[in-house]
């Protein structure tokens, strides 16, 4: 699909067609006090070379290298081959072509994306992606209510879930639902006794981070059992999908829904967005889950092909009775993740996850050996919190590094907590520099 801007003669032709002399006359119905009677106050345009110099100068002010920062968006290597393939004209469009007659390639990639999500989460069905982890979590909460046939109105959420996910859940559920928070213990894991006390017969769903916001790996099976014992739907939210390369799949631990963010695969940090939400569940809930779904079928010659399926649940057909408000997906981001995952393969995924785990463990041990103790005792993947000196951020910047999230921004009681993330992009010398800066 190609788009061209209007030329001056295009504009004149269109004005003539509708019998208007000029663009000013076309906009004459807009009151003059609302119209700008001068050019926009922007600097004159730079030529291409000068613009590149300017951008390079701005970029040089950034600390070099990946930040020691995750907290929902993770710095990972995106192989250049991902971008190279993504630039293909068939794929590089804001709108995904869905007509099966002309879009078999796109639909097959979508189907393969879903397959990857089911493999990673250990669940049976997945959709063609959501906007981001936060909206996927909120949609999962709404789906739990739907599964209860709208009879249950309460959702129990771990306070160790990403605080911004929790904000989005509260926004989605502000009318007619109750969102109850459950705290965490000194291990950084959700307080299971408090969870058990909070979950009752009116609880539609239970949402737990996996790993949670502190990078701590929860006892997901125990949380799922607490939920299912009371007839509630157990939902895991994973912001760092690379952790699935090492951790047990939610589906194997008794979870009914697994959602989260897949930006880690094939998608850069992009200043915090766009993200790539994923959503997987059990087949028995197929008709209650939100979003687009690509399905495999056969054409009239008996050859395998792909189509969008279950569209009857969606807005353009069911209007206000639609299963969900989401009627679209992040196709391009999902394509990038699919390309990256297919290049990693099963063994590459595990190797990359192990590398992240080992580097984070090295950083955590070195920091502890130099007087920067872990904040929590629970097991972690590639992200962890420490008790940091008050001027930790200044020290990190002075060392020419970046990152580290002060936890007091979201958790006032964790005054000296600093959340750090270590991935394959942080080699030993950079980790050592971080340790030196903080100790």
């Amino acid at each position: 699909m190609r788009y061209f801007p209007h030329t001056e003669s295009d504009i004149q032709e269109m004005l003539q067609k509708i019998g208007v002399q000029s663009l000013d006359q076309l906009f004459s119905t807009i009151p003059s006090n609302l119209r700008l009677d001068r050019p926009l106050a922007v600097e004159p345009a730079l030529d291409e070379r000068a613009l590149m110099d300017h951008l390079e100068e701005l970029a040089s002010k950034q600390p070099k290298g990946a930040p020691f920062l995750g907290a929902g968006a993770y710095p990972h290597h995106v192989p250049p081959s991902v971008d190279q393939l993504l630039m293909r004209g068939e794929l590089y469009t804001a709108y995904t072509p869905y007509q099966p007659e002309i879009a078999q390639g796109t639909l097959q990639i979508t189907f393969e994306f879903q397959t990857f999500v089911t493999l990673l989460t250990g669940l049976e069905v997945a959709n063609a992606s959501m906007y981001d982890g936060a909206s996927a979590a909120a949609e999962a909460a709404l789906m739990a209510v739907r599964i209860s046939r709208e009879k249950k109105t309460k959702v129990v959420v771990s306070r160790a879930l990403h605080p911004e996910y929790l904000d989005v859940i509260r926004t989605y559920l502000q009318e007619g639902y109750e969102v109850v928070e459950v705290g965490f213990g000194p291990d950084g894991r959700t307080d299971l006794a408090a969870l058990e006390a909070a979950v009752d017969e009116n609880t539609a769903g239970v949402l737990i981070g996996y790993p949670n916001f502190f990078g701590v790996v929860e006892d997901l099976a125990a949380a799922a059992k607490i939920a299912s014992d009371k007839g509630a739907i157990a939902i895991s939210c994973t912001a760092e999908a690379l952790s699935f390369g090492l951790l047990q799949a939610p589906g194997a631990l008794g979870l009914d829904i697994a959602v989260g963010e897949m930006q880690s695969f094939g998608n850069g940090l992009n200043f915090g967005g766009p993200g790539l939400g994923f959503f997987a569940t059990r087949e028995k809930y197929l008709r209650l889950f939100p979003g687009r779904v690509a399905g495999a079928t056969v054409d009239r010659n008996g050859d395998r092909g792909f189509v969008l399926t279950l569209s009857t649940r969606e807005q353009h057909i069911r209007r206000e009775k639609a299963t969900s408000n989401i009627c679209t997906n992040h196709g391009l981001n999902a394509t990038a993740a699919t390309i990256h995952l297919s290049m990693l393969g099963k063994h590459g995924l595990r190797a990359l996850a192990l590398l992240n785990y080992r580097r984070a463990r090295y950083a955590r041990e070195q920091l502890a050996a130099h007087g920067v103790a872990p904040l929590f005792t629970g097991p972690v993947f590639n992200e962890f919190a420490v008790r940091a000196p008050a001027d930790a951020q200044e020290r990190i910047v002075e060392a020419g590094l970046s990152g580290g999230l002060p936890l007091r921004r979201y958790f006032p009681e964790l005054e000296d907590g600093l959340l750090l993330c270590v991935t394959e992009l942080h080699d030993k010398s950079r980790i050592d520099a971080l340790v030196a800066a903080l100790s």
Binding site: R149, R287, T312, I317, R318, K321
Partner: protein, 131 residues
């Protein structure tokens, strides 16, 4: 397509549901006209036994390959039985709408409600006007 029939012993609604007396209870399904308009039924969602349904309100959905439609209760009452075989064989709604394709059995809260529904002649006339 075989001609659509509307058995005389049943009562009907303008939402295209049928009702049949079964002792003190009433069995409910969708009419031949409804299943024919919907096309191939692929999924049926029904209330649970013990649920209460209200006349004029939705008590479930029926999904075909081209649309999802609400099932509208012909009368109010409590669900005493539902046809779970429709989960695995929703196509029965097309092949046998008045028999094996029945949906729920209800204990009516108002015993007189059944007699106020349309009889076969009135419903047939209604579908002809619709058609």
């Amino acid at each position: 397509m075989a001609e659509l029939t509307y058995p005389a012993e049943l009562r009907y609604t303008k939402d295209h549901e049928w009702a049949r007396k079964d002792g003190a209870n009433v069995v409910i399904g969708i009419s031949a006209f409804a299943q024919d308009s919907l096309g191939d039924v692929v999924y049926v969602e029904l209330p649970e036994v013990g649920d209460t349904i209200t006349a004029g309100d939705s008590f479930g959905v029926v999904e075909s390959t081209k649309a999802v439609s609400e099932l509208i209760a012909p009368l109010s009452g409590k669900v005493v039985e539902r046809n779970d075989s429709l989960v695995d064989s929703p196509e029965t709604v097309n092949s046998d709408p008045y028999g094996a394709g029945w949906m729920i059995k209800v204990e009516p809260s108002d015993a007189g409600a059944f007699d106020k529904l349309l009889d076969a002649a009135a419903y047939t006339q209604f579908t002809e006007e619709q058609g």
